[in-house]
Amino acid sequence: MLIYLLKRLLMTILVIAVTSVIAFLLVHLSGDPAAAMAGEGASPADIASVRETFGFDRPIVFQYLEWVGRILSGELGRSYYLRMDVSDILADHLPVTATLGVMALSFALLLSIPLGVAAALRPNTVIDRVALWLAVAGQALPSFLFALGLMYLFGVYLRVLPISGGTTWAHFIMPSVALGYYATPAIMRLTRSGMMDVLQSDHVRTARAYGLSSWRVVIRHGLRHAIVPVVSLAAVQLGFMLGGSIIIESIFSLKGIGYLAWESIQRADIEVIQAILLVIATAYAVLTLLADLLNAALDPRIRIS
């Protein structure tokens, strides 16, 4: 187990190192960061002054190694744009994204697992059709359109939910639903197909033959097996929600990590971009690891192999 963990850790570090090099190169190769920082309308002298102040006139390898040196000594750097330490910015933005991600995933799981189970229990009935329709709609509807629809209905027309910002928990309801709905179809279809497979398996038939209640059969002997791949998928979806909620965060004006990443790329705020990358890559790695451990707990066969 220890060797397995060490292997995973080494792999994670390698992934983070490679992505950070690529991100660093992309920011530099996609244009002149000094021009982006100085802004439109800046004179050549203004741009030159920015280039010198931030050391962009030096070889890119030096600049990268300097950054790595600082990271290794525990400094995440400073945002030239927001004029704050990156660690403080992350402390502001991470809780917003974490709240959004967890609430969205909870919504997605609460909606999709019962629907998936119901669809599997009554295949080709109205329930299954409704579930399928919900899945197709979730997949097909662009998330921004769904978000704007929610905003119009609950924010403008009914006026029961706040439209933008993140000061109270009520501010997170619409963004969580909009973000979570997008993850629903995949989780639901996976639950449905997993359940259908399991319900036809020998051990479920045996359980039924023993006269166990159908509820017990479905939950204890069916869902427990069917949910294994769902856990892995949910972990990936949560990772996606943490890093990829740019559109939802920008529509509802939530100052989270996805929004921060997008804005920072626009303004070539290199140290913030690199720090977010580290955080997201680490979050993905940790979530995947947790999913594997959880799966091992749910399914003894994984533990043995």
């Binding site: 996609s30 244009g31 002149d32 960061p33 021009a35 982006a36 100085a38 802004g39 439109e40 309308g41 800046a42 004179s43 050549p44 002298a45 203004d46 741009i47 002054s49 010198e52 102040t53 931030f54 050391g55 030096r58 300097e66 600082r70 400094e75 750097g77 400073r78 744009y81 927001l82 004029r83 704050m84 704007l148 905003m151 119009y152 924010g155 403008v156 006026r159 029961v160 939910l161 706040p162 439209i163 933008s164 910002g165 000061t167 109270t168 928990w169 009520a170 501010h171 920008s250 529509i251 509802f252 004006s253 100052k255 929004y259 804005e263 626009q266 070539a268």
Partner: protein, 513 residues
């Protein structure tokens, strides 16, 4: 059942506690744009949002009245050029900064000398680059020594040059610089000023809160502030801004999309107004041959391009309310902006004839660079295609386009420029026609006229020089002016405030009806 009722009650209570901030009833005016403010210190950030905040929070030496365009005394009460490089100013007495300290000549000298220093890292150096040093003559009298005669001095000493107390930047944090060195992050210091509103809260990238300065001095041309609280919020998405405006979450937005303007205008609680801005859109053509031998070096080709584009149609149908056809390479509100220059009517036949005369009867193919508002660029390209010029659109981000411009790579580029809010023709002409890296015309005569205009104090003579330069730029069709952007504002109907043509929002003048 009981627990469900309690949960519902708790939910409703939580919803009810959501702060309903904006509006007349709370005496709180909330405005929103999609920009994240980088600093409220205008010396270290050049965003409109920072300038709007600065005008409300800070005072400068002089004030340009946005309605009459007249320069009025603010922190300086009287001034005189004692020679063509020395400006002597008497300062207002009895003024206090928001931190309670008294304002005097030391503060003016400190602020201007700090930002004018070559290593100040100031963002837009043009505002202070003309200052050699500022000398304290008496407790309320200063002398500004300019490096050269500077007729645009009052433009620079207006709203873009707020005065901070002595020692203001002492608290600037020391942050890591390049090569293991450190540098001072001057822009991280929150401004302290003397203006009609005090800054009481600043959340980087999110919000700025200003509160009425009850002790604001009498006799300021800005008048006494009326609204209690002014809050700025960043809301990225225009649709969200509209939703907030409609429901009273915010009181003001700008940049209303054309397709939403009419709908908002029909609403009872909202006023919609369009006004001009200072941002101009134009084609920069490589007349100087910087990209090598190319069709743009031929004046007939450049004139053909000017004739090929229906600027009026693009302006009216695409850019929309508030925009206007740009007649010259400057905006009319700028001093010295000559608009009586050669105009090229939309005439595709004439364009084709000119191209034939230039030896391009079959047209040609050329890369066409742009970075802002793709639909406008597509429209220009369509017009060019109709006369045989096949532009290959290279639509890039500004930071990717900028190095190409500097490296002699752009034979045709559709660019925009906002003159950094400077109401003087030198702002745009200086950038594009004085042999800087953005100058693709490289006309020595134009350069010399503009250079002379920037050093001539006599207003009539300056105007004459700008007129000559702008006329030649139009005759030679070096750059093709297209349109000045418009902007549509939508705000709470209870709000009384002047919408002006300087692309500024003078909220300190606002009051509730």
């Amino acid at each position: 059942m009981k627990s469900r009722t309690m949960l519902l009650a708790a939910s409703l209570a939580a919803l009810a506690s959501t702060p309903a901030l904006a509006g007349k009833d709370n005496d709180t005016f909330v405005w929103a744009t999609s920009t994240e403010m980088d600093t409220p210190d205008i010396y270290y950030g050049n965003q409109r949002e920072a300038l709007i905040t600065t005008y409300a929070q800070c005072d400068s030496l002089v004030y340009r009245d946005p309605k009459s365009n007249e320069v009025l005394p603010l922190l300086a009460t009287k001034w005189e050029w004692t020679d063509d490089k020395t400006l002597e100013m008497e300062l207002r007495e009895g003024v206090k900064f928001h931190d309670g300290t008294d304002f005097d000549a030391e503060d003016v000298a400190y602020t201007l000398n700090h930002v004018a220093a070559p290593d100040s890292d100031m963002k837009l150096r043009v505002i202070v680059d003309w200052i050699d040093n500022v000398e304290v003559v008496a407790p309320h009298k200063i002398r500004i020594h300019a490096k050269a005669p500077t007729p645009a001095a009052f433009e620079y000493l207006g709203g873009t040059a707020p005065i901070f107390p002595s020692g203001h930047y002492d608290s600037a944090p020391e942050v890591p610089g390049a090569d293991g060195t450190t540098r001072r992050d001057w822009g991280a210091v929150t401004p302290v000023c003397t203006g009609p509103y005090k800054l009481t809260d600043y959340q980087p990238g999110q919000s700025v809160t200003l509160e009425k300065n009850e002790d604001y001095f009498d006799g300021s041309p800005k008048g006494k502030p009326s609204i209690g609280k002014i809050v700025y919020r960043t809301i990225k998405d225009p649709e969200t801004q509209i939703a907030e405006l409609v429901t009273g979450g915010i009181d003001w937005m700008w940049g209303v999309p054309t397709e939403n303007a009419a709908m908002l205008g029909d609403m009872e609680n909202i006023t919609v107004v369009s006004a001009a801005t200072m941002r101009m859109s134009f084609l920069a053509l490589d007349a100087a041959g910087r990209t090598g031998d190319n069709p743009m070096t031929n004046v007939k080709v450049r004139q053909a391009i000017a004739h090929a584009i229906d600027r009026k149609a693009i302006t009216e149908n695409l850019v929309g309310e508030g925009s206007a056809v740009l007649k010259s390479m400057c905006v009319p509100v700028q001093f010295g902006c000559e608009t009586d220059v050669t105009q090229y009517d939309y005439d595709p036949e004439k364009a084709k004839a000119l191209l034939a005369e230039a030896g391009y009867a079959d047209g040609f193919k050329i890369p066409f660079y742009a970075y802002r508002d793709r639909p406008y660029s597509e429209a220009v390209l369509n017009y060019l295609r109709a006369v045989g010029i096949d532009g290959d659109l290279q639509f890039l981000q500004w930071r990717a386009l900028r190095p190409l411009i500097v490296d002699d790579q752009t034979a045709i580029a559709q660019l925009t420029f906002g003159s950094n809010g400077m109401l003087d023709a030198s702002a745009s002409t200086g950038y594009y026609f004085q042999f800087g890296p953005d100058d693709y015309a490289r006309d020595e005569e134009v350069r010399d006229w503009l250079g002379a205009a920037e050093k001539t104090i006599d207003e009539a003579e300056r105007k004459e020089l700008y007129s000559k330069a702008l006329k030649k730029i139009a005759d030679e069709a070096y750059y093709i002016p297209l349109f000045a952007y418009g902007r549509t504002y939508a705000f709470n109907k209870d709000l009384d405030y002047p919408v002006t043509d300087d692309e500024m929002a003078h909220f300190y003048l606002a009051k509730w009806k």
